[in-house]
Symmetry: D2
Subunit: 283 residues, 4 copies
């Protein structure tokens, strides 16, 4: 009897989250090519421990000045994904959230591409993917792997899929930093300048312009989704790449919702991005 009232109290305690048995693991990988350990967070779905099976995997990338904690702490990715898996809108999956930066953007290297003294792309494909997928029983092939991210991570997702089209089944780019057209030649050669130049050097727009028919065919094997707020200062990049890809016959989805370059937008985007990745996994 007493139990009832106590249960009521517990249930009503907004402070007590619903008992989700999914978990966020904090891990790191000693990178040979970077010469340092790289942190990454891992979402493991409810039942992961008990199941012997292999899961599909999403790489979820943060933005400039962010880190591996962002998607959980600021984007509440766990709450959203638990709910989507609960209704079947998202597949049971593992999510890898690697660190590719820091708030101190002038002194710490941010970015997903190979940059002077920081071959991050090499680390990502040669060390992180094989290491994390083995350790956390996930991925293993294009059809079981997707990538998504916000801003710098949206650009990273897009360019990774352009340069490695057989590695990912789908790409979901939020508020994506797809190019950096204006660069100040007099800016100090600090870490911010390095990442900015690397974004220009890896322009996702130029990539489409310069793609040969064979490359276009490869890009068609990836499912593409661009999602950007109508008041986002990067909006033109998302609309432009969608139109360029359409002109070359590559199907992509574009959504422009109300919003700016903030976590409110990206938190909401997760409700679309996880189901999108899930639909495009091999079954």
């Amino acid at each position: 009897m007493k139990k009832r009232l106590i249960l009521l109290a517990l249930a009503l305690l907004a402070a007590v989250p619903v008992m989700a048995k999914s978990q966020i693991v904090r891990d790191s990988l000693q990178s040979v090519v970077l010469g340092r350990a790289v942190k990454y967070n891992v979402y493991l779905p409810d039942g992961f421990e008990a199941a012997g099976k292999t899961y599909p995997v999403v790489y979820l990338l943060h933005g400039l000045s962010g880190n591996n904690e962002d998607w959980e702490m600021r984007g509440q990715m766990r709450t959203v994904l638990d709910e989507l898996i609960g209704t079947g809108e998202a597949a049971e999956m593992v999510v890898i959230m690697p660190c590719a930066g820091d708030n101190d953007v002038r002194n710490v290297q941010n970015g997903y591409f190979n940059m002077p003294d920081c071959p991050y792309e090499d680390f990502f494909f040669n060390e992180l993917i094989p290491g994390a997928e083995k350790k956390y029983r996930c991925g293993g092939s294009k059809g079981r792997r997707a990538v998504m991210g916000l801003s710098m991570g949206g650009g990273g997702s897009t360019v990774y899929c352009q340069r490695h089209p057989f590695m990912f089944s789908s790409c979901y780019a939020m508020s994506a930093w797809l190019d950096q057209r204006e660069l100040d030649p007099d800016a100090p050669m600090d870490k911010l300048r390095i990442v900015s130049e690397s974004v220009r050097a890896h322009s996702a727009l130029d990539f489409i312009d310069n793609a040969k028919p064979g490359t276009i065919d490869e890009l068609k094997t990836v499912k593409w989704f661009f999602d950007c707020g109508d008041d986002d200062f990067l909006l033109a990049l998302s609309t432009e790449i969608h139109l360029k890809m359409r002109a070359r016959g590559i199907k992509s989805e574009l959504r422009v919702r109300n919003g700016v370059h903030n976590w409110e937008y990206w938190h909401t985007a997760l409700r679309t991005s996880f189901p999108f990745a899930s639909r495009n996994f091999d079954r």
Copy 2:
């Protein structure tokens, strides 16, 4: 020139929120009837200082074991309301978020009704409303005042509008605790038992059952909205009150979306609740 790169960096810094000129003020009111100071947070819209005008007001109520910080810290009410005011979906308004509880539910009195040694309802109507509305240039009449809240605060909102129908133009109750049918007679007479008994004594369902025609007419002057997750343990209360009110000819809105009793649900509910209150303000 350098400026450009710096601006870019700032813009890309997900850590830097968009410069919203709205503000959250932390205040408190010395209550005579409660014999103590009661904290409350206030949302003031962009331009409040400069404008001499009076704003409409929403009272936004937290749940059991919550407090005046919840709606901002856990519900991100400021981000959502800034955005809705920006598109015109919500009116420029003041939002009052009073404290009516604490995480220590057994030793600190939670609740919105008059309870032994804690005449909170008297405080709310006789002290908080006149005090806060004068200090923050808002409200002043039914047509310029609305109430909404979650769980215990959803029940509080509903019962406040039932008992004071000429005080509020609209009521938006989320996952509302509208009644407490089961009570353990042997439970210790602690603060949790007191609030539970007060919810039963103020049953919003019984209120409808017992309402005389004149009361029904009064209830029709309020716009009602109930919003509860399909997996919420309190769901039956929301569906029941909607059907009871309909049977008595009182129009109300009901939404059942996917979800449980958590902040993900209430955060999303704000996108509907603020426009609803706004539409029902006098203009």
Copy 3:
């Protein structure tokens, strides 16, 4: 050159639907048990002719006084499903829309159950399912078959899944007529009375109340979804069955959106129902 302007004109012609290669086939089946031919419409997805493969199937049921044309002519099911298949939100599927009624509800038998002189349920399971699935290369097992419908068809869907849980992987009931509590003993014994009595005799609510543990276990093998407007006169039936099923441990989805008992509601429901059925098909 001239072509361009002509193409423009054609493209702008709102009158010209986008060239969807899906098709609606009108067919009929000579029923032995009913002693007459029963019409049914079939949606075949783009590429059906060329593909040799077998598709999953949805049975999409109309309401009282409707017929096999309704879902296409009034619900625009083809436009919606083409679009959902295009984005991958729905699986490529066949949809069977059988006739179970007519506008003349007093003189023509409406209904999905076995009624005097009209063993429709027998027809459905013994003749329609095997006949249509063979002819249109679809279904074949529980995991490849779903049922959904509106009003009388929502009740039909629910009861079919209760009585034949191993025939359908999922059930999506819109504005469902799940019971008929009030019956006029003096009403003329016409076709309307027959269908009303058959709905009472097949009460989906009583079915849950009376279900033994073994039956409950069987019901858990079906994915359930109830979707009903907040101003629908049948709302209480949908909320009640959801709560009853929850109390017995059977997971179901409930959505209450704004709306009444009309095609605007059901047209919109298709955007949720086809993806729901698709997610629950075997892959």
Copy 4:
């Protein structure tokens, strides 16, 4: 008693629309400048006859090869608007749907601008607006008047607001034909060519490019909304005008949803467009 069963039957009859007391009036206006009668449909809200008051007005424009019946017959504007007014999301309003074309696009003049032998814009502003607003007690000023439309009508809405910014409080352009860049010099000088050339001559994009500061200030007095499907062949026009306007400091909303150039898209757009117009009416 019998009544109950009959009422049930009527209620369940999907064929019987909910008794909305709004109405669609079919009217026409003898135009002096066009030298012929022009048909237009009028939506009058529930209670229009009895109320003596004046309503705000929306001009709702059809596309190329369409006519005054389209929005009701193909877009179900009445059902949607009845529902939105019912919840308070849209204001009680009058909607004028004038005829500006015909399916025979080569032989009948389509278009909203002044064209050879067809000064439609003159008709619209000098005859239709004053005539219809007087006859149907609506509009009367910028703050009580809005315009919206699809495709050719979306372009018409935009250009009308550019050229007459003090006539409309808001503009909602769906899948808008805002420019016609490619024209075939050898095309026959038929009605289709005339409208195409008139769209080029009234390019909404060029208008922004060429606007002087004073004009920009005028444009800021209108609320702008562009809504276009991601697979619409006209998408680039909507994204471009939004970006151009933003660059000039004119706030506008942009939404890109999934979809093509079809009625499914426009029907859905009405759920956003009527509330948008309503929020921007003077109160």
